[in-house]
């Protein structure tokens, strides 16, 4: 019992870890009760803004290496659920909150083109639940709580992806595919949790970490780890388990694609990182060897194969979805190097790629508002008629390639450095090769945008639509110049994870 907890003395500041998660959770049902289209947009935007504000406060609080803990319901950790914020999850909380805020600005002007008006309230409600889930996964230090929030976010994601059906019925099968794969992933994950609980009798990450140290030869723990890696591999679209991703990203509404591409897979990767470093012992041979023998080759295959496939795609949303798979490969590669630099590059790339891919998908969404589809041929000559959107797309594209001065360069450079330091020359060469493939598929689009004659004249989209796109594009440049937010926090995070 928590009788030793001081009675009713907590200030609002102490509640930041939980407020981060429950703000969107509180607003979601209110939207359904009020059932007003404009009000629901406003409330969700304000909620996301509040989340952003809280996440900035949290990042400030943990940037000196300290750790914030919060006991839900006043129950002390091994029994109760603990929320634990350190540099590693603070940066992801920030990424998720800021992307959701920007995406909601975009949705104000674009959502009506994709979803009928009477569904908007429920759409926003679902969006907020997805946000709750993602934030919750990142904030919590209780492994079963991770599962619960993962399911909250996944279930709402399936619904959100299916909303693309008003434009293209294939969204339904894409969503159903995702539902099946995602559920298998979640099942594997929860079986893994079951095994861990069986062997250690605990669900709290810190508590398990202590007990697992004596159990590194235990088969149950090893099986649990395998299940968790496969489960999360499905959720983060690790290469042989990625089949749900391209269709889900292609047929979902633009707003959803932006949000998912920037956050969902990263959160799953974060869970994997958290389990490897904070729950299991990364020095154990079964953890180390799995990453070296299995995940590194898979990551490299993802980098190369997905980039090559992307070159041949005519539907640009699908092209970017395959490029996302390649980028997930980079992040997984950084993790599987199993050293501080590699992990730091992985964390930085999560943030940088989040902004980059959101910028790209959002400018595609803006094109789509005018052209009604995103096949490469319908983008002919849009560089002239939609100069601002096209310019933002180019910036995002450069960042995706990793041109110096953009966000993508920083993380790719860190990854290259990490690979070279570890002595993996071949891997380093393949990273560069994969970037060259990215040059091909981005150039293909730029060529169509700027160097071909347009058959039809379109007007530039409204300022309100341009604003979020340009915020993201400017972030792509800003994070390429000022690395204090990403690299410094990531270094702090890796030190905590590698302690």
């Amino acid at each position: 019992m928590a009788s030793e907890i001081k009675q009713g003395t907590l200030e609002l500041v102490n509640h930041l870890p939980i407020l981060q998660v429950i703000t969107p959770m509180l607003i979601a049902p209110i939207l359904v009760v009020l059932n007003n289209k404009t009000l629901s947009w406003l409330l969700s935007f304000l909620g996301a803004l509040a989340c952003l504000f809280i996440s900035i406060l949290l990042i400030q609080a943990v940037s000196d290496g300290s750790i914030l803990t919060y006991y839900l319901g006043g129950w002390v950790p091994p029994i109760g659920i603990e929320y634990r914020i350190d540099a590693a999850n603070a940066i992801l909380l920030f990424l998720i909150s800021i992307i959701s805020t920007i995406v909601l600005i975009f949705s104000y002007s674009s959502l009506h083109a994709e979803i009928p008006e009477e569904k908007h309230t429920l759409f926003y409600s679902c969006f907020l639940l997805c946000l709750t889930g993602l934030l919750g996964v990142v904030a919590t230090a209780d492994i079963f709580n991770v599962f619960v929030f993962l399911e909250i976010s996944s279930l709402s994601t399936y619904v959100l992806v299916a909303q693309g059906a008003y434009l293209d019925r294939r969204a339904l099968s894409a969503s159903f595919n995702y539902l099946i794969m995602g559920t298998i992933g979640a099942t594997f994950f929860v079986i893994g949790i079951g095994y861990i609980y069986m062997a250690t009798g605990s669900l709290n990450m810190m508590d398990i970490a202590e007990r697992v140290n004596q159990l590194s030869d235990n088969r149950t723990i090893q099986a649990g780890f395998a299940f968790i890696v496969v489960g999360m591999g499905l959720k983060l679209a690790m290469v042989p388990l990625h089949v749900w991703l391209p269709n889900a990203y292609t047929f979902a509404p633009t707003v959803v694609t932006c949000f998912l591409a920037a956050t969902a897979t990263k959160v799953a990767l974060y869970v994997l990182i958290r389990f490897v470093f904070s729950v299991f012992n990364y020095e154990d041979s079964f953890v180390n060897e799995l990453f070296f023998l299995l995940l590194m080759p898979l990551a490299v295959i993802a980098m190369i194969a997905a980039s090559v496939i992307a070159i041949f795609k005519q539907n640009l949303k699908k092209l970017l979805a395959y490029s996302s798979l390649a980028q997930i490969g980079y992040m997984l590669l950084g993790l599987s190097l199993m050293n501080q630099k590699g992990l730091a590059s992985s964390l930085v790339h999560m943030v940088n790629h989040g902004f980059t891919k959101a910028a790209l998908f959002m400018s595609l969404g803006a094109f789509m508002l005018k052209t009604k589809n995103v096949y490469i041929k319908s983008l002919r000559g849009l560089g002239k008629s939609m100069p601002f959107t096209s310019a933002a797309f180019v910036i995002g594209g450069l960042s995706l390639i990793g041109v110096p001065g953009t966000a993508g360069f920083i993380s790719k450079w860190l990854l290259l450095e990490a690979a070279l330091e570890t002595g993996y020359w071949l891997v380093a060469i393949l990273i560069i090769a994969s970037s060259l493939f990215a040059v091909i598929y981005i150039w293909k689009i730029i060529e169509v945008l700027y160097f071909s004659e347009s058959s039809e004249a379109y007007n530039e989209v409204s300022v309100l639509t341009l604003m979020p796109i340009w915020i993201l594009a400017l972030f792509c440049i800003f994070l390429g110049i000022n690395t204090s937010l990403t690299v410094d926090v990531a270094n702090m995070a890796t030190e905590i994870l590698f302690k």
């Binding site: 928590a2 009788s3 907890i5 009675q7 009713g8 003395t9 907590l10 200030e11 609002l12 509640h15 939980i18 407020l19 429950i22 959770m25 509180l26 979601a28 049902p29 209110i30 939207l31 359904v32 009760v33 059932n35 919060y70 006991y71 839900l72 319901g73 006043g74 409600s125």
Partner: protein, 146 residues
Amino acid sequence: MKHHLILKVITKFMVGVIVLFGLYVQFHGDYSPGGGFQAGVIIAAAFILYGIVMGLENVQKVMPIWFAQRAAAMGVLVYALTGVFSIIFGFEFLNYHAISPEHPKHGQHYGIILVELGVGITVTFVMIAIYYSFAGRTPRLDDKEW
């Protein structure tokens, strides 16, 4: 189902009993097996039974779709606001001591009742909403054609 007189009479009788049993499970959840989820399913079963026997239009007169949707959200709100209540009074989220700081045991008791109430409301109306959305699809065969 115009000719199923016995079914109709029994249903009218059973609906009340089922709801009553649901409420029993709801409010004894903290002492005996049961709780919000089970109670919600039982209460929803009463509405679903009524819907199956009396027809979708009749049950939707009693329980309109818009009400089921909003009430489901209200249940979540009850749960979440219980937690927020604790935060406002300077306790952790969902720390039931906040409800009665002088008598922590009473606080825990009231807290769990409130939270289970929220769960019960949500489960009831979500179950009903799921039934509506399946039953509301246009059937391939008319009832008479069977």
